[in-house]
């Protein structure tokens, strides 16, 4: 199952040209881009690992795409996303964040139900991928 986190996540995978167009959109507005990766797909995992620093001084999508491709080469079995940060006063937040690479197969989640006091059920989400240790979660399937 394809995780649906971030922008465009319900669409089919973006091609490199479409990713470059989105990067252009961000750079035109002065939002620096950064690349992050992780192999823990839980929706509350917001701290992905950074691939290098945010590219504050780049003006052209070709450089950002180069970094994305190098991250793909280094971590082919991880999720990779691109963030664009809007620093303007009043926002100062990530303006655009979308997944640019997924592992070859995504096993998905299960719901764990735990009965607590007064027959209440506490529900938690458990990704199947985290059954295995970090780095070995998405082998070639």
């Amino acid at each position: 199952m394809r995780i649906t986190q971030g922008t465009f996540s319900y669409l089919p995978d973006l091609t490199d040209e479409e990713i470059a167009a989105q990067i252009s959109y961000a750079l035109e507005r002065g939002w620096p881009c950064s690349v992050e990766f992780t192999d823990d797909p839980h929706p509350r995992n917001s701290y992905w690992e950074m691939w290098g620093l945010p590219m504050f001084d780049l003006k052209d999508p070709a450089g950002v795409l180069q970094e994305i491709n190098e991250c793909r080469k280094a971590y082919p079995n991880h999720y990779i996303r691109l963030n664009a940060y809007d620093a303007s006063y009043g926002r100062q937040t990530i303006a655009l964040s979308f997944i640019v690479h997924r592992p070859p197969s995504e096993p998905g989640f299960r719901i764990d139900r735990q009965e607590t006091s007064d027959r209440r059920v506490r529900v938690s989400l458990h990704p199947y991928a985290t059954d295995r240790p970090e780095g070995e979660r998405y082998g070639d399937s």
């Binding site: 590219m55 001084d57 780049l58 003006k59 052209d60 999508p61 070709a62 450089g63 180069q66 970094e67």
Partner: protein, 323 residues
Amino acid sequence: MTERMEFGMRPPAGGPAEPPQPAEPAFEPLPPDARIDLAEDGAQVNEILDALDSDLVGLAPVKTRIREIAALLLVDRARARFGIDSGRPNLHMCFTGGPGTGKTTVAMRMAELLHRLGYVRKGHLVSVTRDDLVGQYVGHTAPKTKEVLKRAMGGVLFIDEAYYLYRAENERDYGQEAIEILLQVMENRRDDLVVVLAGYKDRMDSFFASNPGMSSRIAHHIHFPDYTAEELEAIGRLMLERQGYALAPEAEPVFREYLRRRRTQPRFANARSVRNAIERARLRHAGRLVARGGLVGRQELMTLHPDDFLASRVFAEPAAQAG
């Protein structure tokens, strides 16, 4: 008349919603026997070339080459209308010439020029020397060079004094690594980046001799000849005009004589020497006005007199023998 704010889907002011726009017609190449007038497309390009002509004095080989590149652009566009696609030409350049001949100035303009011609995407110029590309310790060079190249993508990378990258006598030097990365990017990412090297001719020649790969990747080797006396005078006038000064009529032959004498002296740096001369003349002009005292008007503040040039050391030494 104010519009009422409405939530939700607002129908257009006219009748029912317009039907979706039809898709753009597919590109149809012209029939083989059609004729195109290249001049009609060339109006904007001519404007760029004319601005270049008026801003830069002399530099005939440079202007010729730029005209050819602009003409290639027009021809490529015409070919595209016939459906013939030839891809982007190799635009890497090398500027050689003596000091003060305009290499750096033209390189700065080249980025803007190529962007307006449509050959580079963003048209920004990243100007580096050896220190920005070569690291100080093992493993430092590659990331440093790659960062610079990433910054320059979509624009022009200008490497000044490029021969310092390669130091043959010191085998612990990491310049060779930077050169190799450059060579790879110049070949593979030709569409994203234009590299311009600049330096003195003899040193660039020995640099290319020891790096034949670099020489073959450069499509345009352009030499900047030294300026003639008339060109130097024209440059001087242009500089004065830009800075809001004017030569008094008596000062014009003095300025000409100053240039003639200075050219024969050692370490003459063409346009840079002219600029320095004008700066010194401005200093003497200012000193003269302050020493004279009294009221000054706009005309006096703008006009340079012969004394402002005659006080120079150039006139104190005996004049060189006229040829």
